[in-house]
């Protein structure tokens, strides 16, 4: 028994070590880029933390939140600045297109940092032979998305590459927002006792895109959830000052976002599996394809970590907004095991909810 105990002890110690290593130090062992590096999960973290972020390192970047927070010399005003590239395939999918998510994604990265999104830039990389009619459709929907979010597209760039050097169209957007007050939202701020809120049902975007690919002959009504979140977030931040952290659950899904928060804040997060809203169609598609809805990408959902005493107020504020009618509390922040996210299953058991390792389906955004 003692021997067995020592082995188990050693195994746990080793696991702890590898978790700790994942926390601060990133190891990039790979020699070439594989699709896993773009998944938003552990391989991406190793690439960014182990090489890119290390070389670019500076105090603003090192915070590694959704937006950089920029102090303006000699004033109290702070700016939020962010950028993102979009390579989704297919470029048109139920509920949206590449242009719409390019605008909404950047708006949302600014909004979850607590800033009001104001200005957006657009960089287009077009493949030789791409249809101008389709491009026009994309550009028009970008303008519509900007108007809906209350932002202006104020600068841009266009490049064309040889056929085969890109796939139809890639879009980069960057955005600037302004903080109205001294709010500080960060994945470092989660505290034991806080509640975990989710703004709506998960997995719609990822599954909609997946099913739009020709390889799968499914027919469903699932639509991408792409939407600007700044209005909903405004409603939340107006209702309570006790929001500690906001994160939009894009690549890697809710699971990856929760793991980032648990690691950065040195806390554990417990999720009640039964309370996570998932549409039956999405759940069904996930069951058939062997995917976990918690790791599927969303383009219009966020996680909020809110102090326990204000959690109900926060949920009501979200539910009273047209975009947040299905918002709910899905779990809580605990002291330990530090850096770990786990699920209380509907059956009454537990399981660890890890970050996504390899992307089940690349180019989802």
């Amino acid at each position: 028994m003692t021997e067995k105990f020592q082995t188990l002890d050693k195994a746990l110690e080793n696991l702890e070590k590898s978790r700790q290593a994942r926390k601060g130090k990133f190891y990039l062992k790979d020699k070439t880029i594989t699709l896993s590096h773009g998944s938003g999960g552990t391989a991406s973290h190793n690439l960014i933390g182990g090489m890119i972020g290390k070389i670019f390192s500076n105090p603003i970047l090192d915070k590694m939140d959704d937006s950089a927070i920029l102090p303006i010399n000699g004033s109290d005003t702070r700016l939020a600045f962010t950028t993102d590239s979009y390579v989704v395939s297919p470029i048109f999918f139920p509920g949206g297109n590449i242009g719409e998510i390019a605008v909404n994604g950047t708006v949302n990265d600014l909004a979850v940092s607590g800033a009001d999104p104001l200005w957006i830039s657009v960089g287009l990389i077009l493949e030789e032979g791409f249809s101008i009619a389709e491009l026009k459709k994309i550009i028009e929907s970008m303008q519509a998305a900007a108007e809906k979010a209350g932002v202006h597209i104020v600068t841009g760039d266009t490049k064309v590459v040889h056929r085969g050097s890109a796939d139809k169209i890639f879009i980069n957007t960057a955005g600037i927002g302004i903080f109205q007050d001294q709010i500080s939202l960060s994945s470092l701020n989660a505290e034991p006792g806080d509640k975990v809120l989710l703004s709506g049902p998960i997995g719609d975007h990822g599954i909609a895109v997946m099913l739009a690919r020709e390889a799968l002959d499914f027919e469903t009504d699932i639509q991408s959830d792409t939407a600007p979140l700044n209005g909903l977030i405004h409603a939340l931040l107006d209702a309570t000052k006790a929001v500690h952290c906001l994160k939009d659950a894009t690549r890697g899904g809710v699971a990856t976002v929760l793991n980032e928060i648990a690691l950065n804040s040195n806390v554990a997060i417990a999720i009640e599996e039964g309370s996570v809203p998932i549409r039956p169609e999405v759940n069904g598609a996930c069951e058939i394809l062997g995917l976990d809805p918690l790791t599927i990408a969303n383009e219009g959902r966020f996680i909020a970590i809110v102090a326990s005493e204000d959690a109900e107020t926060a949920v009501r504020a979200l539910q009273n907004h047209p975009q947040g009618s299905e918002a709910c509390i899905i779990g809580e922040v605990l002291e330990e095991p530090e850096g770990m996210v786990f699920l209380r299953t509907a059956l009454g058991g537990h399981r660890v909810l890890d970050m996504l390792v390899g992307d089940p389906l690349p180019r989802i955004c």
């Binding site: 105990f5 188990l8 594989t34 299953t345 058991g349 890890d354 390899g358």
Partner: protein, 377 residues
């Protein structure tokens, strides 16, 4: 979700778990779930958390990704690297390491490797790319073999010249027999594979009850299916009647699926022997493509190295697959071998016992540790 939630009811699960506690009366039982799909369900829903401690589940060799030996992955990679080839595979196989890297690595290096959901998709790719050689990497037990068989028949009917199958289908029965004959292990019964049985039926399992006196319950894949199967195994001990039972009646017929068996027999035959990762060579444990279909057999069409490659020394996948050690007892578990950098294949597939432990099992390990600590004190 309709027809699924009913099988995940927490109250019913706890009620059955109580019954399991009452019937087993603290006596130790070791049951093996043969199928990787069961292993996945057990971890995904935390089934071990609600079972009494005297019921131990051994995670068997039923994950087709885990049991494929490294030499076959190297062969697959050699085919994928051949100029003018489109190599198609299920997603799981992409990250499985061969001796010189994985399919994901050769894809990054320029090979055209695509992942698909059905072998018929590979055939479609072949029709669309008449100038390319399209190969399907066929893996799996009797569950997936019929769809490969249908694809071969269709390729022959349409006379598609640029398509072939790299066949790695394996059969479950000889492997169960090898496990039963292994001196390492004492098992008290089997949770039998539901989807394999849907194809092969129940008769082939009779020898386990008859010759080895071990109960078998063919089980479905939802949590309540598995818990009920454990209860059925225990009830056989209670009544002293050792038989093959079918818990998964809503899917499995006693005679199996005759049409599936027919197309398999038409296109494939047993190999004299096949290497299983960790388990070694097992007689008649895999399928090869019949000579009438040689034209669609990638092993005939391509030069494959066909070498036997020894597993890395540190890797204990074999012992894990036989249930001799728990995944966390392996020397490299969680350190050198993680889902991101798997050494052994049990860490790659979500159905692999090691990956399941790594992803889902750490909490139960922590509580197991507390229990052990209490006994040491």
């Amino acid at each position: 979700m309709k027809y699924v939630d009913e099988f995940r009811n927490g109250n019913l699960a706890r009620r059955m778990a109580t019954e399991i506690t009452n019937i087993s009366k603290g006596q130790k039982f070791k049951f093996m779930e043969v199928c990787g799909g069961h292993t996945h369900t057990i971890f995904k829903h935390g089934i071990e958390d609600i079972l009494p401690e005297n019921i131990e589940l051994i995670h068997g060799p039923g994950c087709p990704v885990c049991v494929l030996p490294m030499g076959r992955i190297d062969d697959a990679i050699a085919i994928a690297k051949t100029e003018g080839t489109i190599f198609t595979t299920f997603g799981d196989m992409m990250r499985v390491p061969g001796s010189q890297g994985s399919l994901l690595d050769v894809k990054a290096a320029g090979a055209d490797v695509r992942f698909i959901y059905s072998p018929l998709d590979a055939l479609k790719i072949a029709r669309q790319n008449p100038k390319k050689e399209v190969v399907f990497f066929a893996i799996g037990f009797e569950t997936t073999a019929p769809s490969t068989a249908v694809t071969l028949l269709q390729a022959k009917n349409e006379d598609i010249q640029n398509f072939s199958v790299f066949c790695n289908h394996v059969t479950i029965i000889p492997t169960i027999k090898a496990i039963l004959d292994s001196p390492d292990l004492r098992l008290d019964g089997f949770i039998g594979p539901g989807h394999v049985s849907m194809v092969i039926g129940l008769r082939t399992y009779q020898f386990i009850a008859r010759d080895y006196q071990k109960p078998v319950v063919i089980s479905g894949f939802e949590p309540l299916d598995i818990i009920q199967s454990i209860l059925m195994l225990l009830k056989q001990y209670q009544t002293g009647k050792v038989v093959v039972e079918n818990q998964y009646k809503r899917v499995v017929r006693p005679e199996g699926n005759l049409k599936s068996l027919e197309v398999m027999t038409q296109t494939m035959e047993l190999r004299p022997y096949f290497e299983w990762r960790g388990l070694g060579f097992i007689t008649h444990s895999a399928l090869k493509i019949r000579s009438d279909f040689a034209q669609w057999d990638a092993e005939e069409r391509f030069e494959v190295p066909g070498l036997q490659v020894a597993d890395p020394k540190a890797c204990q996948c074999g012992e894990v697959l036989k249930g001799v050690i728990k995944p966390w007892e392996c020397k490299v578990f969680g350190t050198a071998c993680t889902p991101e950098t798997p050494i052994g294949s049990c860490m790659v597939s979500p159905e692999g016992a090691c990956a399941a432990y790594f992803n889902y099992g750490r909490l139960s390990m922590a509580s197991h540790r507390r229990d052990l600590l209490a006994t040491v004190k």
